[in-house]
Symmetry: C2
Subunit: 249 residues, 2 copies
């Protein structure tokens, strides 16, 4: 195991600049309904009535509280950020929500416990995702569901991400390095945020190797209705910003 594999996940969410910027994002202020990909993820969720739910990278706890309002028996929210968990804990007095600080690189979970493992835009920070997928698979009850989103590999691949305009006036996303998996450093809310680029095939093959059956894959872009309401989202259809996946044990 190399040094970089042994080192813990970068905990950028506890960085002052990042945390302040993140706290002002619409999805941080207004929750799930401010996340345009949420309707797709929501449609893939199982019936949560009496369900044990796991949220990997729970952040401010929006999904944990939503799951409880929709019948979950208990929700375990995991995050590496002490600041985010502190705010999540302050936002609820529900005893059936447990917030636990843990690094997803080293996470241990009880076996056969959960009906749903959910994760929103967190797994692209994980270096040893193969290990985490195995841990999550074991933690699910038979028939249990995994529903997650990550930044799309087309989005994470480039050495120099960002729109550019061709000589013929087309706005394009400059893909390079797609097949070179590994860390990407970007300046998003703070300088030097490290995300792990992996190919779409790698995500799928990890799930298959981990024993999951795939249910749905979506390369998410805004609908025409969403663009009508938010015209500045139109470019997101040129290349998908998010990859959404549903699988089951």
């Amino acid at each position: 195991m190399s040094e970089s594999e042994k080192s813990p996940t970068q905990n950028i969410y506890d960085n002052e600049e990042f945390f302040c910027g993140y706290s002002r994002l619409p999805r941080s202020v207004d929750g799930l309904d401010a996340a345009p990909e949420w309707p797709v993820l929501r449609a893939w969720l199982p019936d949560l009535h009496a369900c044990e739910v796991l949220d990997l990278g729970c952040g401010f706890g929006w999904f944990c509280r939503w799951a409880r309002r929709h019948g979950a028996a208990h929700v375990l929210g995991i995050d590496v950020s002490a600041r985010m968990l502190a705010r999540a804990a302050a936002d609820t007095d529900d005893p059936a929500i447990t917030y636990t600080r843990a690094d997803m690189e080293q996470l241990e979970l009880p076996s056969g416990s959960f009906g749903l493992a959910y994760s929103s835009l967190a797994l692209h920070y994980v270096k040893n995702l193969d290990r985490l997928i195995s841990v999550v698979h074991r933690s699910l009850a038979p028939g249990g569901h995994l529903v997650f989103s990550v930044e799309h590999p087309i989005f994470t691949a480039p050495a120099e991400p960002g729109w550019s305009t061709t000589s013929s006036g087309r706005k394009i996303w400059p893909v390079d390095n797609y097949l070179e998996e590994g860390p990407r450093s970007t300046d998003w809310l703070a300088k030097g945020v490290i995300k792990q680029h992996r190919t779409l095939a790698s995500y799928i093959n990890m799930l298959l190797r981990g024993g999951f059956a795939l249910r749905h894959v979506e390369e998410w872009g805004p609908t025409q209705e969403q663009i009508a309401a938010r015209p500045n989202w139109a470019d997101e259809r040129q290349r998908p910003p998010f990859l959404l996946v549903a699988a089951c044990r």
Copy 2:
């Protein structure tokens, strides 16, 4: 159904200019071993001993003959190009290979017959791929395999495909229109070759809807050994040219 959906597949392979150009490609002259993605596809094939094999878009018949040399009981090669089938037929006198001219948009196949359906770089010409996937699924025996390659969605998406160089000197592939599925006209070997762009998720979801279980997905690029032998292939790792998939009924 729109007019474009009713019209038959463009039969570009019988176009004089295209056919002559295609006939000179390494994979046309030297067969499977000249196709750099072939080792991956070959590794995914089931044992062909006594197997009934279907080849969708068989072209010059290289795979049909290979399958027979590796134990297949019978091979049915389907293609829309009369010229390619004529050469395929001229290249073998094996009575256990049957070449049939058919449009994959309207293909009918016997049920439960095949142990393997194979297709190399042909399905991206098919408009109604959902229909074809269903037909192929029915035509497989239980446990039967589907192994195919198509041009990768990142490769087919752009309105103006082709490498370009950024102001910082990086060679990039200009992605746009990724989420806009449908025909793309490119000038490859001949002008106005029509291929169908669809997202990677669409390929996967079609297979899942069609009843297939996924086995492997690969976004193919050359290995370092292949690049050492052919340095001009190095760019293909910036963005994958091919998508390879193995699934089973």
